[in-house]
Amino acid sequence: MQTQDEPRILIIDDEETLRAAVKRILENEGFIVQAAANGTEGISFALKSDFDLALIDLKMPDINGIEVLREIRRKKPYTICYIATAYASYDTAIEATKLGADGYILKPFSPEELVSQLRKGLERRKLLLETERLRKEREESLLEVAFERTRLKTIINSIRDGVIVVNREGESVYCNQAALKLLNISFLPIGIPIIEHFPSEIVSLVETNFLGKESQTNSFTIELNTNPDPDKFIEATISPVPQSDNKLAGIVIVLRNITEFKKLEMAKSQFVSMVAHELKAPIAATIGFLDILTKPEIKVDDAQRMDFLKRSHFRLDSLLLMINDLLDISRMEMNKEAKEIKEISFEDILADILLLLKIDIDKKKIQVTFKNSAKKTVIRADQNEIHRLLLNLLSNAVKYNKENGTISIGLSDDVTFIILRVEDTGIGMKPDEHKRLFAEFFRAKNDKTKNIHGTGLGLSIVKRIVDSYNGKIECVSKYGEGSTFTLYFPKINNYKG
C-alpha cells in the first residue's frame, strides 16, 4: 500500500493560514503534505490517493467534518482520521471517536503537540496495516488448506487402491470408495472398532503390532483370502502414521487387488508344469525302452529291438521339435515389439510352403487344389512369422490327412482381410477335441494320431501369431471326415517398419 517511507498527510481545513502553518510544520518533519480548502475537496483528495493520515477540521462551510470523516472511513478504512476542532468540548471529541475518528486535536495546538499526536496516529496506521496483512495471510492459508484437503480427498477417492485410516484405539477414521469395494462392504461407519468389519487377518495384525503401542515404525504386508469370493486376492499393507514426536498417531491400511497378478502367476506355473510333463514324457518312454534293451534278463527278439529303437528315435525327434517350438514361443513372448515388418506377398509365401511340403504331399498321394480370387495379397508383416503360421497350418493338413486325400486351398480378400481357407480330408476332430484345439500341448490322442509327430504347440503358435496381428482363425471339423481352417488376416495393421 504505502510505498514511500515518508508519511503522507492530508489536511482539510477552510482556514488558509492554519492550513499553511500546519503544512509547513509537517513538511519540516519530513512528511509529505497535501492540503484541501474544504470538505468536498478533502474527500476528493483522500479518495484519489492513499494517505496515511487525514487531519479534518470539524467545522467547515460546505460539509461538516464528521461527514467528511464518514466518507473517508467508508472508502479508505486504513487512513487514520484525526478531527481538529476549536470548539472543542468533551462531547464532540467523544462523538468524533464514536463515528470512527482515530483521535482529535484541539485548536489551538503547539507544533510539538501536533507532531506528537500525528506520530501516534501514524503508529496506529502501521499497526492497522500489519494486522490487515496478517488477516489476509491467514485467510489465504486457510483457503489453501481447505483446497488441499479437497484435493487430497478427491485423489484418495479416485485411486483404485483401498485406503483406510484407523486411530490408535482401533477405530476407523476414514476410508475411500475403493476400500469398501475391496472389502465387500457397503459402508463403514466412522468411529467403530475395525474388528467388526475387517478381515480377521488385518485385525489380528493390527492388534498385535499397533494397538496399545507407543510407537511402531515397521510396515506389514499380508495377502488376504477374501470371502465370499475365493478367486479374489487382496494385498494389505499396514503402516504406522507417526505424530511429529514419532509416537503412533494411527494406522493407514492400503488394500490392493492383486487378483490379476495372481492369475498370471498361476498361469505361468501351470505352463511350466505342463512343459515339464510334456518334456518328460518322451524321455521316460525312451529310457523305458533303453532299460529293456540293456537288461539281459528281459528277452527281446531282433524285430522288437528294432521297433523299440525306432520308437525311441521317434520320441526324441518329437522332443526336439517341441523344444524348438518352445523356443519360438519364448522368442515371440520376449520380442513382442521386435517384428521385422515389411511388405510381403501372402501368395508367394503360400507357394513357398507348398513347395516345402511337396515331398510329404506326394508321399501320401494327396491332391492339392488352389483357387485364388484375391485382388491384393500384399501385407505388412514379419515374413518369418507368416511363414511359420502358414507352415503350421498347411503341414497339419498334410500330416493328419489320409492317403489319396485332398487339400483345397482358397485365397480371397475383402476390404479388410485376406482370407485363407484350408480344407482337408483328414481325421477331423471330436467336439471335445475341437474345443481345446488352440490350447498349448493339446493333441487329440487316439490310434490315428499316435504315429504322427506333434508337439501340441503348432496351432497354439498359429493362434499367437494371428492374434498379434489382430486377425482371427476359425475351424470347422467333423470327426473322421476332415477339418476346415479359415484364417482372416488384416490387410492393414499398425506395425511400423
Binding site: K280, A284, A285, F289, D291, K445
Partner: protein, 126 residues
C-alpha cells in the same frame, strides 16, 4: 501267475511296462485311455492295477482310481506319476488318491517289479 492291468495313454510306456512285467511271468492286459481301462478291469478282474496319473485330463488317473474304489474294487493300485515334483506335490498314499503305491517316471524295471511284487504279497496276506 498274477494278472496286471496297465492303463496309460502313452503306448510306448504301456509296451515297455508290459514287456518288463511279462518277462517276470506276469499276465498283462493294457488300455491306453481311461474308458478302456475301466472296461478291462471290469472284464479281466486283475490282481493289480497300474494307472498313469495324467492322461487326456491332468487328473484322469485319480478320477479312475476313485471310481474303482467307489464301486468296491479293492484291487491294489500302483500309480505312475511324472510331474509331482514340478507341481510341488508330495503324494501321500490313500489321502490324495485312493492308491497303494507310486512309481515316478521314468520307470525303472527293478523298482517297478519290486513294488508290484510287494503289493501282490500284501494283498495275498489279507
Amino acid at each position: 501267475m498274477a494278472r496286471i492291468a496297465v492303463i496309460d495313454d502313452d503306448t510306448d510306456i504301456l509296451d515297455a511296462s508290459s514287456l518288463i512285467l511279462k518277462s517276470r511271468g506276469f499276465e498283462v492286459v493294457t488300455a491306453n485311455n481311461p474308458d478302456d481301462g475301466y472296461r478291462i478291469v471290469k472284464e479281466t478282474q486283475p490282481d493289480l492295477i497300474i494307472l498313469d496319473v495324467i492322461m487326456n485330463e491332468p487328473d484322469d488317473g485319480f478320477v479312475l482310481a476313485q471310481k474303482f474304489r467307489k464301486e468296491g474294487v479293492a484291487t491294489p493300485i500302483l500309480m505312475y506319476t511324472s510331474i509331482s515334483r514340478a507341481l510341488g506335490i508330495e503324494f501321500s498314499k490313500g489321502i490324495m488318491a485312493p492308491v497303494d503305491e507310486f512309481v515316478e517316471k521314468p520307470i525303472s524295471p527293478d523298482e517297478l517289479v519290486s513294488k508290484v511284487e510287494k503289493l501282490l504279497a500284501k494283498a495275498k496276506e489279507k
